[in-house]
Symmetry: C2
Subunit: 471 residues, 2 copies
């Protein structure tokens, strides 16, 4: 059983640290975007360097006080708040936000955990390089949190998740030891892969304090298009065609449902829609080509071949940076439109690409059999990752359906699991999906996870209650 | 302390398994390519499916008998043999060699651990896809071993190590539990990354029995060139230029030292060399371009820009598949030529790209200060990975220098470590580099590794003595 980070503990810890390292936790540390949890922490620590993080963790470990590592607070599964149990100390990395180094020749950048994703992207851009991780909350999300949750986003298809973009870590382990692992190496086979164990562990195995990030060359030419597709199966055939023609240069491939654009028209009329009327299904795709290829020609070739194969019925290629921005604004505004409408249940599933069309068909059928719900099914279809979100019928409010919420989620998750999929593709487990992990997780994997957690964090101080139930 | 897999144990285990699952270990299981170790095992188990693997592991765990998971036996650091301590049971995956499924639309292939790398490559090829992992021993090496050691090779620059090419695993954990983790998902954030923990653990945390492998589209056009570069620094500038011009389409970028081609001329005169005389340093590069780009034009552009920048002095672009094969034969024959000459000490280091030229300069200086050694320094320079191998002076034999071997290695490894590098870039730790791991490894990482090993394999049955000292 843990002890609370109370005023006594905070006071004694503060004595060991530079002035103003600990403060009473302001409300912003206790909220999360979906409004499901309200944190119960009284104190936040704001260390300035890894040694201070280490001293804080050592003290917490000695006193058996829980810690919530805190990044930008944008997580969607409650990994950043706990509302029950002894109040943990929040350790926010916001003061450790330096870009420590950029090595353009090596395609490497070293950032502290508290740098926002947008700051990392900018630093790469200034060195004429690309840091391809990109997601809606990039202005607020911090890179440490992106790594702790193995964030995904729109460019995973080409560049991978946060995991694939990290070469090395500096981190504080649960006993307070500092792991100096900021290696700028593409190949390093010396012992177990501690890096990937911390990435995606959602702060339950340590605190990431800095990372070596992999940059990419900026593609010489970029092209963006929206195409109307017959159905999700046609979207997947279009992706296959695109990859046959252009290889790995397809950077993003997003599927958008008519429900999503209807929601935009209803709640955010300032967002411009590309067609009138809007088709049932559209795909937003972006390519980044090497020198010597004209992106609009490549996209025209793709459209022609896809039309020939009767996969697409209409298409628009962005003719300017402004039009490209318009296309992306439409895509990135969908989560906000969803919030305006108010979902009953939101999901972040992935299935094998070959099962994706079946998932959408059967998922819609199963939910429609439960009532007159609206379904907004959109997402990173190139990765098999869909946000399959369920909304009340027109004119009704989500509150009326709170009693069916769990049942609807169960239908969606059971189906994803049946099709070999995941109930958390990119958001993680946090506190929202701890039950799902026990229900759908492989028993051997679960027992290994539990053994690893107990071995590295025997007192269970790191982000207690996230990913795994408390002991 | 472990018990030996003796005749009694083998006999009782055989009773629980289909006929002919256990056999006396033939000599081929007890040898390894460098001839450093001679295995002491008496018995080999040859399971046909994962359930049999599970029963074998359970029995060994119960009897506290060690296990050596065995793939193709091509490892270069002795991970596949142990010559001391109680004789372990060898568990060879050679009967589990099926390609279970190919999903071309998903760019996914599922192979059993005993399939050779070449068989996996062929199965991908038949589906008009590429499995890019490629290394000299691919005809013999098995994919389970490639994954267990996180194998590298010539295409890491573009496609990553074995780790980056694996989406899911089926494995037997040290207590005999089967982890059914053959997920065909690009995104799956449900719990700790057990997959990457087993990959690179060299069989010390479980036995990989099957894997979901990531395929790539076959690039529409392939080009291969050899360019003479001024020095290693020029090679790196050439790489940077190539990536600026062609992005991620640079698949391979190998540096070859004049010593290497001299060794070829001396010991393998049938291997054709591209220039006469051979330059001090050459680079072998291969690109794979999307449709619409002509590889030879792209390589000519690169050569022209590199000549303008005074990075290259000569160049050849392969004009046919036969010439391409010739270029690669030269590169792939170097390890064999090295064996003909007989190295005193071989190394597999990596350093950050920005430190690579300094490593070569200082490494050569330091070794030359020790005596009139010949150094063959070659490798995957695009990954910062060099095989920096030391040979006796002309007319002398490596045996005369066995007393200085360790000292020379220490110089090379100390320098790599000082420059932020790794003493095992792609070969792993095995039994050869256990001491190096303790010497150069980060203490916090080492204690975490030890804790993980003890948690998952409390009796220490899995590949005892590899990666970590026995308890």
């Amino acid at each position: 059983m843990l002890n609370a980070a109370d005023a006594n503990f905070a006071e004694s810890l503060q004595k060991d640290l530079p002035q103003d390292t600990l403060r009473p936790a302001e409300p912003r540390y206790l909220e999360e975007p979906r409004g499901t949890w309200q944190g119960n922490s009284d104190w936040v620590a704001l260390p300035r360097n890894v040694e201070e993080v280490s001293r804080i963790v050592r003290a917490c470990n000695a006193a058996q006080v829980g810690i919530i590592p805190y990044g930008g607070g944008t997580g969607l599964v409650g990994g950043q708040v706990t509302g029950s149990g002894p109040a943990p100390l929040i350790v926010s990395l916001e003061r450790m936000s330096a870009i420590r180094a950029v090595h353009p020749l090596e395609n490497v950048l070293i950032a502290e955990a508290g740098a926002t994703l947008a700051e990392v992207q900018s630093a790469a851009q200034e060195a004429a390089r690309l840091f391809p991780l990109s997601l809606a909350s990039e202005g607020t999300a911090r890179i440490g949190g992106n790594l702790a949750t193995n964030a995904g986003g729109v460019n995973v298809l080409r560049y991978g998740n946060a995991r694939e973009l990290c070469l090395g870590l500096e981190a504080v382990l649960p006993d307070g030891q500092i792991w100096h692992g900021l290696r700028r190496l593409r190949k390093d086979n010396t012992g177990y892969d501690l890096r990937n164990l911390l990435i995606g562990a959602e702060g339950t195995l340590g605190i990431i304090t800095a990372a070596v990030l992999k940059l990419s060359p900026i593609p010489a030419g970029r092209g963006t298009a929206i195409m109307a597709v017959r159905d999700p199966a046609a979207a997947l055939s279009l992706l296959s065609l695109a990859r046959n023609q252009m290889g790995e240069t397809v950077s993003a491939f997003e599927l958008i449902d008519r429900t999503g654009t209807d929601f935009l028209a209803e709640t955010m009329p300032q967002v411009r829609l590309p067609f009138d009327p809007m088709p049932e299904w559209i795909v937003l795709t972006e390519i980044g080509l090497p020198r010597g290829l004209e992106p609009s020609e490549a996209l025209e070739d793709l459209f022609a071949a896809a039309a020939e194969a009767e996969l697409v019925t209409d298409g628009l290629i962005a003719q300017s940076e402004a039009q490209r921005a318009e296309f992306w604004t439409m895509r990135e505004s969908i989560p906000l439109a969803n919030r305006h409408i108010g979902s009953i249940a939101s999901h972040d599933i992935s299935v094998p690409l070959g099962a994706l069309a079946e998932f959408i068909r059967r998922g819609k059928d199963a939910i429609c059999a439960e009532g007159q719900f609206r379904i907004n099914c959109f997402g990173h279809v190139g990765d098999g990752n869909l946000h399959f979100n369920i909304f009340p019928p027109v004119g009704r409010s989500k509150k009326e359906f709170s009693n069916v919420k769990d049942g609807l989620t169960r239908i969606v998750h059971d189906l994803a699991h049946e099709l070999g999929g995941s109930v958390s593709a990119e958001h993680g487990i946090g506190r929202l999906k701890v039950e799902d992990l026990s229900r759908y997780g492989d028993p051997a994997k679960l027992s290994a996870i539990r053994a690893i957690k107990d071995a590295l964090d025997p007192h269970g101080i790191m982000n207690p209650g996230a990913v795994l139930h408390r002991d």
